[in-house]
């Protein structure tokens, strides 16, 4: 406890005392409002706060509210020129984090008038702007966010959306299949296109540039685009299917990115790609370009683990996913649960849900603290990518359903009989699993038997299962949800 006197625990309502020059507790300045009922138009943030020793949770929550809205460290008389109560964010509830005595959840409401319409940059500049370096806290994490319909409707959302993407691609009723070209770096444009052609002809829907493939000395972007599009069109003719390859247009400046996107369009690509590291403004600009040019936008979440992975500090990926959907991307890497990268299965399902829900319901085991109406915002196709293989097909389909993209990079290109065989193995495994699920079989448990049966008519699948069938990545997750199970209402 910080030994505050009773007078320091609540808002000072006497204006002469409130605006006397000097320093007050954030609670005294009006940022702790336990009696406040959020308005339907408020944005609500749920923070995980780890206060410094001696800082009470309510004061810490009030500090977060203040520093993420209009407070500064001292009283300023210029507050009195404004409707300041409106602009003050209001911390209205704190609760201890279950099984974690150092940490608290704090609910903070922000008035709609604090934010510029349709700007993720503006929303994030407030909510995660200065406050994460605030000294009275040891650590701070934005766990979840409720964005009201009134604000949701100011964003255009995904340029294409997963429903229209499926119509354009003529692919329905199953997850899409992709692969990232490997090795990530060093292939010439000519060699790179070979990998694209083999993967697509073998049965994948998409191939993909990796996040750090831009325009390096070994492969100029223009060469890559030309060779890749030859491969895409040849594979389309060889299979009778629409095919695509995510052409990464990430570059140093928007001018460079637009130039690359225009070239992708001129060559007839159905999809371009960007990396999360380009920033919110660039993402929204590319989304606008994509809406004008009928282009699907694939977002690789490069860099996110620097702030999403550790539970104590940063921003949960479920918040990043909500921002990405509003900013306007069509594909979003959202984890695999069973692959090589971080992600507890329920938490990852929570990310998938916010990409695809028409209405997100509170679901504490999946880390979703709020109901949220997406107001018909188009849906994002979540992407599972990183260390997955055909032998996990039943788990992937069971966890994530049809509306996702499963990307097997090493699991395609590393096949002992070559890339086409790797693609065949994945496509056969997928189709067999979808068929079995639709026939009413319990794929979570019967999956291995279903794969084995499918492998009887498919040598490449048998070889894939022999090569990778036993590979798993079983490590303790660093980011599972913290919640106290409440007794069911009888």
């Amino acid at each position: 406890m910080d030994g505050s006197s009773p007078g320091e625990l609540t808002e000072i309502t006497d204006v002469t005392q409130r605006y006397k020059a000097g320093v007050l507790k954030y609670r005294q300045m009006g940022y702790w409002r336990p009696d406040y009922t959020p308005k339907v138009t408020d944005i609500i943030c749920l923070f995980r706060i780890t206060p410094q020793p001696g800082v009470e949770p309510e004061e810490a929550a009030a500090g977060v509210a203040g520093e993420s809205s209009c407070a500064t460290w001292t009283v300023v008389w210029t507050d009195r020129l404004t409707a300041c109560d409106n602009y003050r964010a209001k911390a209205y509830k704190v609760e201890p984090v279950p099984n974690n005595p150092e940490q608290f959840f704090a609910w903070i409401a922000y008035d709609l008038s604090l934010f510029e319409e349709g700007s993720i940059a503006n929303m994030t500049a407030s909510l995660i702007g200065n406050v994460f370096g605030f000294k009275p806290l040891k650590a701070l994490r934005l766990e979840d966010i409720h964005i009201p319909v009134a604000y949701v409707k100011t964003f255009k959302g995904p340029p294409t959306g997963l429903i229209v993407e499926r119509e354009r691609l003529d692919k329905f009723g199953r997850p899409l299949l992709g692969a990232t070209t490997k090795p990530k770096l060093g292939l010439s444009g000519r060699n790179y296109g070979r990998v694209i052609y083999e993967g697509l002809k073998g049965g994948l829907d998409f191939m993909k540039d990796d996040e750090n493939i831009n325009s390096q000395p070994f492969m100029h972007w223009r060469d890559r685009f030309l060779y890749v599009m030859d491969a895409v069109n040849k594979a389309s003719a060889a299979t009778g299917e629409v095919k695509g390859s995510y052409l990464n247009v990430t570059a140093a400046t928007m001018e460079d990115m637009y130039e690359r996107a225009e070239f992708a369009k001129e060559l007839g690509s159905v999809v371009i790609m960007i990396d999360l590291v380009i920033g919110w403004t660039a993402i929204q600009s590319i989304a606008n370009w994509a809406r004008r040019n009928s282009m699907v936008v694939h977002l690789h979440r490069a860099g996110h683990s620097t702030y999403t992975r550790q539970k104590r500090h940063g921003v949960s990926f479920r918040v990043i996913a909500k921002w990405c959907r509003l900013a306007g991307v069509d594909h979003l890497h959202a984890g695999t649960a069973v692959g090589k990268l971080e992600g507890d299965p329920l938490t990852v399902q929570g990310y998938y849900n916010v990409c695809r829900d028409a209405y997100t319901h509170q679901d504490l085991p999946r880390g979703l603290f709020f109901d949220m109406d997406w107001a018909d915002t188009k849906k994002v196709m979540p992407v599972a990518s990183g260390g997955i293989h055909a032998g996990q097909m039943h788990q992937l389909l069971d966890l994530f359903g049809d509306d996702c993209i499963l990307q097997f990079g090493g699991g395609t290109i590393g096949h002992p009989q070559g890339i086409q065989a790797g693609a065949v193995a994945n496509r056969v495994a997928l189709e067999a699993m979808v068929q079995a699920r639709n026939e009413g079989r319990d794929i979570a448990h019967e999956g291995p038997a279903i794969l084995k049966a499918a492998a009887q008519h498919c040598t490449p699948l048998r070889q894939a299962l022999d090569t990778w069938g036993e590979v798993t990545f079983n490590y303790q997750s660093t980011d599972a949800s913290d919640y106290a199970p409440t007794p069911a209402v009888a």
């Binding site: 003529d170 002809k201 028409a358 056969v428 068929q435």
Partner: protein, 144 residues
Amino acid sequence: MMTNPTGRITQGQFSFLPDLSDKQITAQIRYGLDKGYAWSIEYTDDPHPRNTYWEMFGMPMFDLHDPAGILGELNDCRKTFPDRYIRMNAFDSTRGVESVAMSFIVNRPLTEPGFGVVRQEAEARHLRYTVHPYATDRPEGERR
């Protein structure tokens, strides 16, 4: 003869599996009906990947909820057009979806001629691509 690993057009949900039997097709129809989808049957002799509008074999069967009845319609279509591509489509009218939810090929020509790529070379190494179905070299109604 197409040269991809299946030797045939790979559109739809199940082109990489052995041809579905009537029993297997019925199971898929039942799955769609249980989800509330409406089935329809479409056929074509021009399977270009961007030929969206195959011919409808009658209207979508919004009010037919019996898998055997839907399979009967499919078999009528097969009798009428034994040498065409035929696909089963399921529509989901849920708000926010309102699109095709399932689609798979259930009949094919005996031989599938496939497609060629036509490259038009332009300035600065630009290429413009056309995927050309060999089937459409023959007149409408005489294609395979």
